[in-house]
């Protein structure tokens, strides 16, 4: 858990022009932000670009951070989430075009994951098996709607509490819980369908 005073001092040093403080912030939070971007965008290249954009925005608006209003990690996650939503909106047209080009069915359930993920033979060891499962879950996560996806990512992958998620998403805690429940259930249904197809 971040120490509020330490982070506040880091931010003050960074605003004062201490490049070492900024580098420490980057070293501390780049992994977290990259993982959020990777799970949301679904692509490593997009995640790298988005992470850089997040830090550029952080660097520009660092003076606007007020530690009395909330934790630094919540502020960082909010910036990340807003950028991800913007990115999703920008690329929505591209995805729709891709869907038309590939003649995909209108309903996402009509295209099972087994058609997108190549069916490979039995893995030689558990490590390969685990990696395959991870890729399958990651692909299923990308099939969720953005509202459900961001909720389950922040809760189950980033271990944020409901209050923080509500602050980031700017919705009531009840809505957060509902989105998390629906997101988990939707993901399970997608995966069950996938493995039923594979089996």
């Amino acid at each position: 858990m971040e120490d509020v005073q330490v982070v506040a001092m880091l931010v003050r040093r960074c605003i004062a022009g201490d490049s070492a403080a900024w580098e420490e912030i980057v070293q501390t939070y780049n992994r977290r932000i990259y993982n959020i971007c990777y799970r949301f965008a679904g692509s490593g290249d997009d995640a790298q670009d988005l992470t850089q954009e997040v830090f550029i925005k952080m660097y520009r608006t660092l003076s606007s951070y007020d530690h009395n209003k909330g934790a630094f990690v919540t502020w960082v996650t909010t910036i990340t989430r807003n950028l991800l939503v913007d990115h999703f909106r920008k690329t929505k047209q591209d995805r729709m075009t891709d869907s038309i080009d590939t003649a995909a069915p209108e309903h996402e359930d009509a295209q099972p994951l087994s058609e997108q993920i190549p069916d490979q033979s039995a893995p030689p060891d558990a490590r390969v098996r685990s990696r395959e499962v991870g890729e399958t879950v990651h692909a299923a996560l990308a099939k969720l709607s953005p509202e459900l996806r961001e909720a389950v990512i922040l809760r189950d992958l980033q271990d944020m509490d409901y209050r923080e998620i509500a602050a980031v998403l700017k919705v009531p805690e009840g809505t957060v819980k509902s989105r998390i429940n629906r997101g988990r259930a939707e993901l399970a249904r997608l995966l069950q369908r996938t493995y039923r197809q594979v089996m």
Binding site: N30, I56, L62, G134, H138, L187
Partner: protein, 278 residues
Amino acid sequence: MPDHTSNGMQCNEFDHLLADAIDGVLSGSGLDRFQAHARVCKACGPLLAEAEAGRNWLKGLTEVEPPASLVMNILASTTGVDTQRLRVSARSPQPRISWWERVQASLFEGMLEPIWATVRQPRFAMSFGMAFFALSVGLTVAGVKPADLRQVSLRPSAIRHTYYATQARVVHYYENVRVVYQLEALARQVKRNVAPVEPSRKESRPAKQKDDKNDTTQQPEQNRERNYSQADSHLILASVPVGPSPSVFDGSKLDWSKLDPSNPDLPVVSVTTYRRFV
């Protein structure tokens, strides 16, 4: 979700407690009522199972490792954008830079930077070091001291003077070498011994000899460079009237016209001298 009641709990209440139940924070009578509703409700029971399964799937995902270059790219991109820090530094007064410093900077960045990059390579530095070492060893062996270099004048006249002095020193040194001197003497002796063979060469060209009597360029070197100081002595007879003879020797002046070689009264004086004809 259908809004009906089972075991005193409505489905929307079940949905509200679902997250807490999965997180394990629901307990007591609330947990009992929740579980009872899940058992009897055909909509909420499967929802609980799917939500738990989905949570387990997500918890199985591991963190991905960011690319190694990510931090460097972030630092590079953030230092190039307009930031608070850059704005603060832009407001501070900048030191005045003269045109000469700008020219020097552009010259260094444009032209000298590639050369400097080459010079900084270890291979070039090692070669330069070895060359410097060899030069310093050579100068030390030659007896050149660094202190002498301070007195070196680079004026053209001084350089010319140094050149001639050095040349004279080298020639003097060469001629004073005992071995060279002995070899030169030996060579002269050999030439002298070979000299009798030369007349045959003269006879082969008598006509030309006659025409060029005064031309000695075709003669052997030994004839041309005769060293009379080392040749046999020549006897030169000189007769001089000795004794007072007022008729011949008049005071301080000798009257050569009155000398008669046939006069038997005259004493004969034999004088042997070495004369050097150069």
